[in-house]
């Protein structure tokens, strides 16, 4: 039996005295999608950041792609794609320069990197504006670039926090090809609009105020 892509047991995270996540248990097989829903302040983004190795849990067990977090975080960096509230793009560089920078950090170089970048830019219809500085682009265009950044290194696990933010209908459709259910990757999706993603999610985790699990 294959190991789950994500296995979380009794996960807690506190910010000083305030609990952000209170005892989350969830498991996700490879290729499955988990939808995380809940009101503001329920700890959805905190959960994603812990799975992305960017935050340490206060207590509990977290295994991602076979690695125990946070001790073995180095094993999964480079195998995760995070699409968060911020596009994680440098404003004074162009979209293409940002993607080249990310490609080099992930060990992609030369013609292979250029081909992958061009392919992704074309996939989100940003090839014509790829050499404009990010600061000159609209929020929706930045989000399209952020989608490219997220999947550039072919991650096995996608962590998507409101992935449709700022995207128009065309942008949503194009991004869906890269990060949607047809991408065949394991996905953890956070959304305020559960109905939009309910159909493509294999499981749903509902968080309540203070990160308590309301339903799973």
């Amino acid at each position: 039996m294959t190991e789950p892509a994500v296995a979380v047991a009794g996960l807690r995270r506190d910010y000083d005295e305030r609990p952000a996540l209170g005892g989350v248990d969830v498991s996700l097989r490879q290729g499955e999608s988990l939808l995380v829903v809940g009101p503001n302040g329920a700890g959805k983004t905190t959960l994603l950041r812990i799975l992305a190795t960017l935050l340490r849990p206060s207590s509990g067990e977290v295994r991602v792609l076979g690695a125990q977090l946070p001790a073995e975080a180095w094993k999964v960096r480079g195998r995760i794609g995070l699409l968060g509230h911020e596009p994680l793009l440098y404003r004074d560089l162009s979209g293409r320069e940002n993607l080249r920078f990310q490609a080099r950090l992930h060990g992609l170089r030369g013609e292979a990197a250029e081909a992958r970048i061009s392919e992704l830019l074309a996939a989100v219809e940003m090839d014509r504006r790829a050499d404009d500085r990010v600061t000159e682009l609209s929020a929706g265009m930045r989000q399209r670039l952020a989608v490219c950044r997220c999947v550039l290194h072919e991650p096995e696990l996608l962590l998507l926090d409101e992935p449709d933010s700022n995207l128009d209908a065309s942008g949503r459709a194009l991004a869906g090809e890269l990060i949607g259910s047809r991408s065949d990757r394991t996905r953890v999706l956070v959304s305020h609009d559960p109905e939009r993603y309910r159909r493509e999610a294999d499981r749903t985790l509902e968080l309540g105020p203070g990160g308590r699990v309301a339903a799973a």
Binding site: T53, W74, R77, G84, E86, L88, Y90, R104, L105
Partner: protein, 226 residues
């Protein structure tokens, strides 16, 4: 894991490209230094400086100009999500420290190429001390970059970073300042450069550089944790 050399080169190239495109730090640092020399010239009412006074004026001006650049060193990483993007990549995080410190050395050298000749024009009667002075400044720049990169990476997460950086950095660079001015003083002596205890001060500068580069390499990974 991406090789550290590739990560270092990528981060350094990104920083230098962004600075050359926006010129957010270099002109401010150079302008600050030149303005300070003008203030010293009229404040001291002297057209020539030598010895410890010249060394003090030059080093203090360069140090405070450097703080302007150090304050901004990690602003893009903080405000544009660079920290997260870099922490998600399969790289040794000390590559970020090495790249930022190297970028800072590049900024300091670029500023000194402009402002040290201005200092010589304002206060020296010959250019003879400039070649050995360049060696002292390069060693001092390495130490300042190592310490400044460490402090800047910690201070950038605070809203009071503009206050925090000088308050924490200045006490840490007291030994560096003593060694730098100690080495500069005989070079700027009346009657041409001398080399009294020059080698000793260079060794102290080198030792300071080594200690803070090693400290930075050892602790930087922990500084990036949440």
């Amino acid at each position: 894991m991406t090789p550290s050399r590739a990560a270092f080169a990528a981060i350094l190239a990104k920083d230098l490209r962004a600075e050359l495109r926006t010129l957010q730090s270099l002109p401010a640092m150079a302008l600050f230094a030149v303005t300070t020399f003008v203030i010293f010239r009229f404040g001291l009412d002297r057209t020539q400086l030598s010895g410890s006074l010249a060394a003090g004026v030059l080093w203090a001006t360069l140090l405070f100009a450097a703080i302007l650049g150090i304050n901004r060193l990690f602003v893009a990483e903080r405000e544009e999500g660079g920290f997260d993007a870099i922490r998600l990549a399969p790289i040794d995080r000390s590559a970020l420290f090495a790249a930022k410190a190297t970028a800072l050395v590049a900024y300091l050298v670029a500023v000194e190429l402009v402002v040290v000749p201005v200092f010589a024009l304002f206060f020296l009667d010959s250019a003879a001390p400039l070649p050995p002075l360049a060696l002292v400044l390069l060693l001092a720049d390495l130490g300042l970059a190592a310490t400044g990169t460490l402090i800047s990476s910690m201070a950038v997460n605070s809203r009071a970073r503009d206050l925090l950086t000088p308050l924490v950095l200045l006490p840490l660079v007291v030994p560096l300042s003593i060694a730098a001015t100690g080495a500069l003083e005989p070079l700027l002596a009346v009657g041409g450069p001398g080399y009294h205890r020059f080698g000793t001060w260079l060794a102290v500068l080198g030792l300071y550089d080594l200690i803070f580069l090693l400290v930075g390499y050892a602790v930087f990974d922990f500084l990036l944790e949440d």
